[in-house]
């Protein structure tokens, strides 16, 4: 097999590469054969880098120089193209939540956004047909503000759901967006009730 740039055969004389350069070169070579999603790739590269740093720290305790220690751990990990390909063969996402359930945290933020967009269309239609009153301008501003918040929550929930495919800890962040919508609606409801009461 053709040698990847920056890699050397085992036992060959070492290039005068710094330790960090060795690590970077190895990670770059792994990355080039790692055809998985961006999020998964980042996780894999972080884990391998962490492995090299942990391993070299342990080898240094036995008297190896940092350079020797890094080279040893890299040798133990194996050829970078094989490491990368092993992940490609097992590239199934970490999360087992699939189908409709996967997107459940997006329902409430999405519903709020849809309602607000409907409200904006309605206010603009009334405003254009019957003229812009102070009331319709205030309503439009209120809808735009709520729409901006809902759009942000939709984006945050979608991002968290995608991250949760590779890191389950992100799942609760996706649900936190639903929590934010509930909190916002409660806050809005309380504000409206106060207005009615006063």
């Amino acid at each position: 097999m053709e040698q990847l740039p920056g890699m050397r055969p085992r036992g060959a004389a070492r290039d005068p590469m710094t330790d960090d350069e060795q690590i970077r070169t190895y990670l770059r070579s792994v990355q080039s054969s790692l055809h998985v999603s961006r999020v998964h790739r980042r996780r894999v590269l972080e884990e391998i880098e962490s492995h090299i740093l942990d391993g070299s720290a342990e080898h240094m305790l036995t008297g190896a120089t940092r350079s020797e220690a890094v080279a040893r751990v890299i040798d133990e990990l194996g050829p970078p193209e094989i490491v990368g390909m092993a992940f490609v063969q097992d590239s199934s996402p970490v999360s087992r939540i699939t189908g409709v359930r996967r997107w459940l945290p997006l329902v409430l933020p999405g519903a709020l956004l849809a309602m607000v967009v409907g409200g904006i269309v309605w206010v603009v239609t009334i405003g254009v047909r019957q003229g812009w009153t102070l009331g319709s301008q205030i309503a439009l501003w209120s809808y735009v503000r709520t729409g901006a918040i809902a759009a942000l929550l939709v984006l945050a929930a979608a991002f968290s759901i995608r991250r949760a495919d590779h890191d389950r800890a992100w799942r609760w962040r996706a649900w936190a967006c639903t929590g934010c919508v509930v909190a916002y609606l409660m806050f809005d409801l309380v504000a409206r009730l106060r207005l009615i009461v006063t």
Binding site: S50, H51, D54, L77, G78, I82, F87, S92, V94, D167
Partner: protein, 102 residues
């Protein structure tokens, strides 16, 4: 080796949560250095176990860098017991066959 790597990783994780390098070091230690795990195959195996719900992972920042800790789940413990039973049966079968060598 690949067929047993999952079981071995689950077995090591029963001692408590660990990150990738600690797992490979523990495998080496417990096998007196005889078990030659290609360390690059360790993480795909861990990801497979996580996808199957047998281990869970969490990411934390230690000494300024992100590290991922793996721990066995309740499902993982059940799967390990099943794997051990199956391994013992296999071992007993092989033993029976070898016993009759004249």
């Amino acid at each position: 080796m690949r067929g047993y790597l999952g079981m071995l990783l689950l077995a090591v994780l029963t001692s408590g949560p660990a990150h990738g390098y600690a797992l490979s070091a523990e495998l080496r230690r417990r096998s007196n250095g005889l078990l030659l795990v290609v360390e690059g195959s360790l993480y795909p195996a861990l990801h497979r176990l996580e996808a199957a719900g047998l281990v869970a992972s969490s990411s934390e920042i230690i000494d300024g860098r992100r590290r991922r800790l793996y721990e066995i789940t309740a499902e993982g413990k059940e799967a390990l017991e099943e794997e051990i039973r199956s391994w013992n049966n296999f071992q007993a079968c092989v033993h029976e066959v070898l016993r009759e060598i004249p």
